[in-house]
Amino acid sequence: MNYIPHTEEQIKEMLKSIGVSDLKELFNDVPDNIRLNENLNLGQSHSELELLKLFNNISKKNYNTEELVSFKGGGCYDHFVPSAIDYLANRAEFYTAYTPYQPEVSQGTLQAIYEYQTFICILTGMDITNASLYDGASAVSEAVLMANRINSKRKVLVSKTVHPDYITTLSTYLVSLDLKLNVIPDKQYVTDIDELSKKIDQDTFAIVLQIPNFFGYIEDVEKIKKILIDKKVLLIICVDPISLGLINSPAYYKADIVVGDGQSLGNYQSFGGPTFGFLATKNTWLRNLPGRIVGKTVDKKGRDAFTLTIQTREQHIRRHRATSNICSNQSLNAFRAAVYCSLLGREGFRKIAKLCFLKSHYLAKKINELDKFSVFFDSPFFKEFVVETNMDIKKINDILLKENIIGGIELGSYYPAFDNHMLIAVTEKRTKEEMDKLVYIFKNID
């Protein structure tokens, strides 16, 4: 491939105009002893045809969920992605544009992100949000750092039922800052509320919970609300945005900051990225928000216009005193979420959430009827649930794979105590036939 338009003649002409004899001379500032004299060991160039062939071959080494049936979730889901999203996100005016720092020539991206911000606020029930963060894990981390700007005490409590990657990420973010992170144990797949209540002390500035949590279960929000009365700690809730089509928004149980990963809103699983993270909160804490924010204003002629705003929080203005170092975010993925929400709308969004709920409950009930398997039903769940068995989960997944099914997550890989536990996710894409097949295979495993 070659994307350089210059002819040999033009190069000569330009060199002459600059007043140098050859291209090498332009690099005279690079000391001789570090200048490379030989080509990098990266081989020759390849044509477009060769490129397509090679990558097609490599891609086929992956088992994909378009051809196989997947029951994997754990923060990344096989939801349906409407074609209109690809079509719009593949418009070069969106995907080959830079960050909209020049509002006059970026009204498209700016308005779309303003609309994205509104969708996130509607879903979460919060007042404000930013233009996106990297992913769910970094959003949790940014939320905790933000909470610490609001309340400068030293300890944050995180439930063990929060996504394990998110907890690991958070501890990486906090380790250099002299902030304490305490993990609250779970009790049967939900946060041990008594333990949580005991651990809240004078030194605590925030609590992080996930709803539905990593195991798919919905925490006891009424109890949580009660124990937090009169406590000056910030409640950070991590959500699966799809669940908000059926489950009350975290604003209902008085969340201060709502975060999550937006993969399920019109983004592909893509081996875990790119997706995007979101962070929504109350008006009061606008100046503490990390990252870019789009606002509506007017232009010189009084027409409606959009622009990046409240930028004095950000690194390019405030440098080391910024609320975060974030610069590039996941704009195009947030854009996809805006299109997804627009397409589904009031009815569609609810319908998707309902389908996930109904189908997951159908499968859970069927699996629970089997002798060698049981499903944990004591807490409500949304689209994911835990299956317990005496059998080796890896072995089960190997058998499923032979039948073109990608089985649930082996929980033992995250928690040694949960060997023989499988986390199963059911999206609106799963059919009765697919679920019955899974149950049939489970039933016949020796």
């Binding site: 303003y114 893509s270 990225g273 204003t297 109904l358």
Partner: protein, 484 residues
């Protein structure tokens, strides 16, 4: 023309923009499985549109953007080069988009192969020994690197509190160091636009963990004293960090590893042509020398008996900086770019990006001010000081460029150049485009003399004119509300 509306002002209750499958199982009563207080009754503020309404709305919005595919985009430090279309096609193969991060290793060998091969290539390009691909953007890479630096010293029981950055550095450098608890101190730039060695010597001591450096620096100039710099830094036991924002100029020409850098971050969305997406997704992989491998985030990817595997046994790993492995979809495009170009093609990027920038510099240095009298690398920084005397500032010039169909350069950065206009043409722009840009810049300089109002009011033909940013900040309107 119909007054412009938000998506929330469009549609009609009852419409839907996708057709969803019917429920093929017997419906159960949800309230028997979910306590009443948890059930959300409605999401009433969501709009209801059909597919065409959505398509038309966002297609119209797209027409209000400048983009690489429609306009010359000489945005300094951002490397807005052409994004090859074949990469988009490749990255959309279902074998790349429809794979779950927790599938067994056997079922994602292709994905691991891509990451492995990209890592090999980036090691060859930079002279580093191992990379992590978790960082999702440049600043995220910087932060990851700071965590590594912090852990490296703590592991030696050597508690260092300071990070040095040049006064010309990107804002993300000090912000990233601060997020990791370091105190940031600035090192001055000398009269030639390089780092001031005397100032560096004065500020470096055994409380300094790291010097963060961009090379070529943000003035578009190569740090000629880089070997002396690395010597000064390493003699005090500190680490040298490479901000890869400007690597485009050095591809196949010189390796950061040979310059003495210990840790680097790259911007795949700059140097390796993955699209900026209107602000992301990017990817900011971090590479390190042998001594720092043990601190990288988990998992790393190894090759065992011809099979690619995850390696979670990294003794002193900092942990993770995000879930899973990074912006994989971006990695696919970056590797396709490197594989497509090969060694010769990569070197030619450096050659032509530097040629293009110098060509512009040579033609414009007499019309605009240029603080340093040197050949530049891949970008140049002009100053509108001459025009400032006539009441025209860098912003006016930048906005006037829009009227000629050119995206404004980076303005007022680096901070050490007054009225800065930072121009990075990239290698994919033709001589004809550069000539057009040069002529426009000369014309604007004349307009500044003869018709300053024209510049103050620019741009004239865009969907909106200059926006009221003071109002935006003072009366924040950050979302739509029903009925407003």
């Amino acid at each position: 023309m119909e007054k412009d509306k938000l998506i929330f002002d469009k549609g009609r209750k009852g419409r839907i923009g996708v057709s969803l499958p019917e429920c093929d199982i017997k419906e159960i009563n949800i309230s028997e499985h979910l306590p009443g207080h948890l059930i959300r009754k409605d999401i009433k503020d969501m709009p209801s549109l059909n597919e065409l309404e959505v398509i038309r709305h966002y297609t119209k919005l797209s027409q209000r953007n400048f983009s690489i595919d429609t306009n010359f985009y000489p945005l300094g430090s951002c490397t807005m080069k052409y994004n090859p279309k074949v990469h988009e096609k490749i990255a959309s193969f279902s074998g790349f988009t429809d794979i779950h991060p927790l599938q067994s290793e056997d079922t994602v060998q292709g994905a691991l192969e891509i990451i492995w091969k990209l890592e090999e290539a980036l090691c060859e390009i930079t002279g580093m020994k191992k990379f992590t691909f978790q960082p999702s953007a440049g600043a995220h890479g910087e932060l990851t690197a700071m965590f590594i630096v912090d852990k490296y010293f703590k592991n030696k029981n050597d508690y260092r509190k300071k990070v040095l950055v040049p006064d010309s550095s990107h804002g993300t450098n000090p912000a990233s160091a601060n997020m990791c608890g370091f105190i940031v101190e600035e090192v001055k730039t000398n009269f030639e636009g390089g780092i001031d060695l005397a100032d560096l010597k004065e500020k470096i001591n055994d409380t300094v963990a790291c010097l963060m450096l961009t090379n070529p620096n943000t003035l578009g100039l190569f740090e000629k004293d880089i070997l002396k710099v690395q010597d000064i830094v390493h003699k005090k036991g500190a680490l040298l960090y490479y901000d890869g924002a400007n690597l485009n100029a050095l591809l196949g020409k010189a390796k950061p590893g040979d310059m003495g850098f210990d840790i680097v971050h790259l911007n795949l969305h700059k140097t390796f042509s993955t699209p900026h997406g209107g602000g992301g997704p990017g990817s900011g992989p971090v590479g390190v020398v042998e001594e720092l491998i043990e601190f990288l985030p988990v998992p790393l990817i190894d090759k065992k008996n011809g099979k690619f595997v995850f390696n979670y046994k990294v003794n002193n790993s900092i942990g993770k900086v995000r879930a899973f492995y990074g912006n994989f979809g971006v990695l696919v495009k970056a590797y396709a770019y490197i594989y497509g170009l090969g060694a010769e093609g990569l070197k030619q990027i450096a050659n032509i990006s530097v040629l293009n920038a110098n060509y512009i510099l040579n033609k414009l240095e007499k019309v605009y001010n240029c603080k340093y009298n040197r050949n530049c690398m891949h970008e140049l920084v002009l100053s509108a000081l001459k025009q400032k005397n006539k009441g025209i500032n860098a912003l006016d010039i930048a906005k006037r460029l829009i009227d000629y169909g050119i995206h404004p350069p980076t303005m007022y950065f680096p901070l050490i150049v007054k009225e800065a206009l930072m121009i990075e043409p990239t290698e994919t722009e033709s001589k004809e485009t550069l000539d057009y840009f040069i002529n426009v810049m000369i014309k604007i300089a004349k307009e500044a003399e003869n018709n300053p109002e024209l510049l103050h009011n620019a741009p004239h033909n865009t969907f909106v004119s200059r926006v009221d940013e003071v109002k935006a900040a003072r009366e924040p309107n950050l979302r739509w509300y029903p009925g407003k």
